[in-house]
Amino acid sequence: MASVPAVRLSDLASGAKGQVQEVLGHPAFRQRMLALGITPGSPLAVLRRLPFHGPVEIVVRGTRIAVRLRDAQQISVLLRR
């Protein structure tokens, strides 16, 4: 597992599945992610990417969440193969 490189959420295509590896960025951002259940190890799937570099829509812990592309760069994901 450790040999699989982590990818940024912002780089994932729709349909990709994986696990959250790490959330970086401002404390307020990380705190928010925690409350929404985006914690290291939680499974995540990319539902769709909005056009014009819009937000990424993901499913985490049974909830759909849209994250701005810029914020999605702060979330690294271990891909499941």
Binding site: Q31, L34, G54
Partner: protein
């Protein structure tokens, strides 16, 4: 007895609240904030039960203004029971707040709501087992159909009357955290007045995670300052340096990681909770394999890269058509009724032999004032029905996601889009619609720039004047030019605010996309009623005085022609300034009076320019009195300068004080006249006159 309803956003708290309390509701503002809260009273044969509908929160750690409000209420007001409403179809995320509340207070009842939707998805929940694992009552409910309410209230009463200390909260945190950090701090916190042992543990846990709101709360308790400081910057200090020995085992290289920082602790706490939730769900919930549900299918359409935007255009267009066009006959009816009532009263006052001044006061002062207040009602009511419908169905979240990218470019965000677009209809409800943004700074910014958007009334004046001055296709061009100027002004002012006093908050935009729900009529109507009522109750006072002032300005000195009335003299004084733009006293008076209600500007101009009835007469009077350049400049200033009085009052309410509203108005006036000057100079340079 007091019951607070807590829960994640969109789980059915308000639906439950409305089902419990019916029409016995009162809306108010949380002290010091612009967040509304609603309290209601339940009809119960045994005792008076007050219910409070708290704003939606994802966790008890305050992040948004709504969350701060909810936490503050729970901390300081101490309701007898907290009912946590949890969405059964999204249990994993919803149980997080449930766990936090169980740690916070022993008086918790869980309402497992949306059981109908869960069933439709084929999801099965073992309620008995869930109850055992959580250690608090769990009652399945369908708030939208008032199902399960009586058992919910029964359990709430039982819990309220029960012992103060419930069994230990179920989540197990690592030993070093519990014993090393939290336990010593708990003892100190529990010794403070008004904090019980149960809450003390939660407070201590929050303190070591660096929760600022809890820090402030503890610090203001008598003797709490010292305790809070202990936990403050360095969590290690709280445990008297013992943390290091309890800290996580050294990493692979044998390096002692040192005392954990608050952020790391927050991560560990969240992780422990979610691990526990995963265990619980394995034991109680049976979920069928994931399949494309109805929400997924609808999102395929509504969030489609092309179709999505087309659908959004159609949805918004029909929404605004309903609110601002279809409601027009209603407004006209209100108008006619008032005119008739005004006439009847005038006749009555004259037959009573009252002095002329009193009759004029009634006919030209009081009735127009009441009319100005009531004219808002029809389209505000329809607007809020549309707004609430889009919000409750879950569509608004989709629209926000679609446009977020464009809104981000101008320094705002997706959730503000509807407010901005609807401002072209009327600024007043648009300001209320900024509420959906959870970040107070974003909300404030939207409030400050929305008045630059010309509303229905301003657009009407603009249309009439451009048609008069620029016949044929020129009129359309002039109108487009004006709208472009307004958009450019809006974006530059937003940019300026962002660079100066309102920089972007580091907090992210995270939008939950809820399941689609068919909204309940009761929810929509009650919310509409609350909003319209709040607006009217705040505005009528100002509007009546303002129309009375206008009446007095034009009526006195008695018998003087308009040019010599107080209004005329004021206009002449202002014209010294307006002269730079080519505006004479009449145009200045119309600008001034337009502040009360922009709708009246055309009739004011008509009176001032001595025009007869009808459009032709007015346009003739106007075109013979000023040049097209002056007219265009006038429209630019008129479009941008100050929103109407109702907008200012609403701005004050939404931004939380006169200070911000005052700033907004000042910026409006300055920008309007500055842009007007530029337009005028450029026009002269280009050879227009």
């Amino acid at each position: 007895m007091r019951i607070a309803l807590a829960g994640n956003p969109n789980v059915g708290k308000t639906t439950l609240f409305n089902a419990l309390t019916g029409r016995h509701q009162e809306v108010a503002n949380w002290p010091g904030t612009t967040v509304d809260y609603v309290t209601g009273r339940m009809a119960d044969s045994h005792e008076v039960i007050d219910v409070i509908d708290l704003p939606g929160t994802y966790s008890l750690t305050a992040y948004s203004q709504e969350e701060r409000v909810a936490l503050r209420f729970l901390l300081r007001e101490r309701p007898d029971v907290v009912i946590v409403v949890a969405d059964a179809t999204s249990l994993e995320r919803n149980l997080y707040l449930v766990l936090e509340l169980i740690e916070f207070t022993p008086k918790v009842v869980v309402a497992l709501n949306m059981m109908d939707a869960a069933k439709r998805q084929g999801l099965r929940v073992d309620v008995q087992r869930l109850r055992q694992l959580l250690g608090v009552p769990v009652v399945p409910t369908i708030a939208a159909r008032s199902f399960g309410l009586s058992s919910l209230i029964k359990e709430a009463k039982r819990v309220a009357a029960g012992p103060a200390e419930a069994p230990e909260p179920p989540v197990g945190y690592p030993g070093w955290l519990r014993q090393g950090l939290v336990a010593p701090l708990t003892a100190r916190v529990a010794a403070l007045p008004e904090v019980g042992h149960h809450a003390a543990k939660w407070l201590a846990l929050q303190l070591v995670q660096g929760d600022e709101e809890v820090f402030r709360y503890v610090a203001q308790l008598p003797g709490g300052g010292e305790v809070a400081r202990l936990a403050g910057p360095s969590a290690a200090a709280a445990a008297g340096g013992r943390v290091a020995t309890f800290a996580r085992p050294a990493d692979g290289n044998g390096v002692d990681p040192g005392p954990p920082r608050p952020q790391e602790i927050a991560l560990i706490v969240a992780d422990a909770r979610y691990t526990f939730i995963a265990e619980v769900l394995r034991a109680v919930a049976r979920r069928p394999p994931w399949r494309r549900d109805q929400t997924e299918r609808l999102d395929g359409l509504f969030l489609h890269p092309l179709l999505g935007y087309a659908i959004m255009g159609a949805v918004f267009a029909s929404g605004f058509w309903l609110a601002f066009v279809a409601s027009a006959p209603l407004s006209a009816r209100v108008d006619r009724a008032l005119v008739a009532a005004g006439g009847a009263t005038a006749a009555a006052t004259s037959s009573l032999g009252l002095p002329v001044a009193v009759r004029s006061l009634v006919a030209q002062g009081i009735f127009p004032g009441v009319g100005a207040v009531l004219s808002f009602v029809p389209y505000m009511a329809v607007f809020f029905v549309v707004y609430q419908f889009l919000q409750d169905t879950g569509y608004m979240a989709r629209a926000s996601v679609l446009v977020d990218r464009f809104m981000e470019r101008i320094g705002l965000h997706g959730k503000g889009f509807f407010a901005l677009v609807s401002a072209y209809g009327c600024n007043v409800p648009a300001l209320s619609a900024t509420r959906v943004m959870e970040n107070p700074r974003d909300r404030l910014l939207a409030n400050l720039v929305i008045p630059f958007i010309p509303c229905n009334a301003r657009l009407g004046v603009m249309a009439v004047m451009t048609a008069a001055f620029f016949p044929g296709p020129g009129g359309a061009l002039a109108m487009i030019g004006l709208l472009l100027i307004s958009v450019a002004t809006l974006t530059s002012v937003t940019w300026l605010y962002r660079r100066t006093i309102l920089p972007t908050d580091p907090a992210p935009l995270v939008l939950e996309l809820p399941q689609y729900h068919w909204p309940s009529l009761r929810n929509v109507l009650l919310a509409t009623w609350h909003r319209v009522w709040l607006f009217l109750s705040r505005i009528w006072w100002y509007l009546i005085w303002a129309t009375l002032a206008i009446w007095a300005l034009t009526y006195f000195p008695v018998g003087a022609p308009l040019a010599q009335s107080w209004a005329g003299r004021l206009g002449h004084a202002l014209a010294i300034f307006g002269g730079h733009y080519g505006f004479d006293w009449r145009l200045m008076v119309a600008i001034l009076f337009g502040f009360v209600a922009k709708e009246t500007t055309l009739s004011t101009l008509g009176v001032l320019f001595g025009a007869g009835q009808g459009y032709l007469s007015l346009s003739h009077a106007l075109t013979s009195a000023m040049t097209p350049l002056v007219a265009f400049t006038y429209l630019v200033v008129y479009m941008l300068y100050v929103p109407c009085l109702s907008t200012v009052v609403q701005m004050r309410r939404e931004s939380g004080g006169w200070g911000w509203a005052g700033l907004g108005v000042a910026v409006n006036v300055l920008v309007a006249f500055a842009v007007g000057l530029i337009v005028e100079r450029v026009g002269v340079l280009l050879g227009f006159s």
